[in-house]
Subunit: 331 residues, 2 copies
Amino acid sequence: MIPTNRQILLVSRPIRSAALDNFRLVETPLLPLEGGQIRVRNHYLSLDPYMRLRMNDGASYAAPQALGHVMLGATVGVVEESRDAVFAPGDKVLAAFGWQEYGIARAEELRKVDDSRVPLSAYLGSVGMPGVAAWMGVHRILQLEASETLVISAASGAVGGVAGQLAKYLGLRVVGIAGGPEKCGYVIGDLGFDACIDYKLDSMLEELHASTPAGADAYFDNVGGNVLDAVMGRMNVYGRIVVCGRVAEYDGVNIPMRNPGLILDRRLKIEGFGVMEQKGWRTALEDLSTLVATGRLKFRESVAHGLEKAPEAFLGLLKGRNFGKQLVKLT
Amino acid sequence: MIPTNRQILLVSRPIRSAALDNFRLVETPLLPLEGGQIRVRNHYLSLDPYMRLRMNDGASYAAPQALGHVMLGATVGVVEESRDAVFAPGDKVLAAFGWQEYGIARAEELRKVDDSRVPLSAYLGSVGMPGVAAWMGVHRILQLEASETLVISAASGAVGGVAGQLAKYLGLRVVGIAGGPEKCGYVIGDLGFDACIDYKLDSMLEELHASTPAGADAYFDNVGGNVLDAVMGRMNVYGRIVVCGRVAEYDGVNIPMRNPGLILDRRLKIEGFGVMEQKGWRTALEDLSTLVATGRLKFRESVAHGLEKAPEAFLGLLKGRNFGKQLVKLT
């Protein structure tokens, strides 16, 4: 039997909601390596909300994912075969091979990672892009002070969970927003937030009010939409909002901000940021890996098994069906 | 005849639009001075959009104007009588006596101004609060670079006109937005903006596009509403928006922001600011007064004559009927 690679391609763009038929699983033969190339067996694929925006045609600042090509995404895996002097079979690497079981790259496209202190999968989550996004928001953008209250949406997710724990170490009151009692219980009980509000409840506004008795000084926004409106109503004068995601809008719905007048009334600062463009990744990753290795940064993973499950897991992620970092195990 | 003071009181709050019957003109006797007090004959009253927000009951961050009291506002005038050692009859002073012909204050509530280089009325405009707001936005908040394009709404107004001229001195491309061909002609011809768009035209979006061939890097927003939406659509990645006013909403209409998703897509920074809370007034005022005194900062005034005209002039200001800084001449 000829060894093959399995890949998932983007074959159509969503009209509104992303759907299973936007993707297609294909098998392709494994190509022989050229000089300088390295073959990696991918162990985990990262699924992240930003991928939804890339499925659109030019609607976002980021370049769209090309049709007929392998869906983009970060991966961790193990070198199987190398024609490069620095990488050897058995090396653990972080890469961006996308939704496929194997990848071929050159040395500069791979980063060796050490899975002796930190589990391999964590390099896609708490010690990877989502963790760094949380770190940058908390340590570089929001200008937090210990006496303040920070609200975080998607609080049980890969970014929000890290952001909340980091802010708790800074001494803040941290209030999460998440979907459902199970996630809220985890956010308080496991991650150590002071409170967590279930955004699905009709009493959401009242609970937000009760959980932020001194108002909100900062908001780490991963969802946009109505939750952003609700938190804006609780912002104190000189409040800061960092916009890291807008899952509420990812399926093509454009949700207006209800009361932008608050920006002036309360002298708010709102900043959208892309973690890839931030400086200081090395510092952030060192801090995050130490915290994970020493058990001071907790995280949770939702793992789908098998590449063929990636589209379904991804659609679930967009609907909040994941619980913590969404991964696909590929081996 | 006993000398009297005429005052305009706020006697009711607007249901939606402010109206003449929210105000009442009264005559009160001039009181004798107590020790340490100074009596000022007000020469000019400043009318500013922020006053509209103060007419509401607690809808804004700022404390509401109390019913039955003299409407608040900045004034310039001349000391008539003084029981303070530092102030003498004939001194020109800036104060916050509000909508009345005379005011009594103590020394710490007055600032002496020099009208030999700068006209007295300018201390309410280009060398006053509106000028400082423009200066802070341009020099402290927007982080402008000479190669960039800045868009300014209410471009012929007291704040926008100064902001545009300051940005031109920094070397930027400056595009104004104003109401009607006459204001736009003034903004380009007199103030030296590179372009000016009439927001009342159906072709506003097309003209904005044509006038910002390289997009907009920064936006000095004095109006909010649909103009904010339009400019947001032209913002470049890493664009900055300073929100200094929101005249479009001042009559109680709450206008949503149509596409807040742009904040994330284009990594925008949006900041609402109140000029009174900014540091650096002394530096700003020195810079502005030198520019005005040397003829390098131009401005225009709409002057209503007589205190009794203040309500009508104020309602006109909210509808953009003023042309440049709106004043009421009281002598």
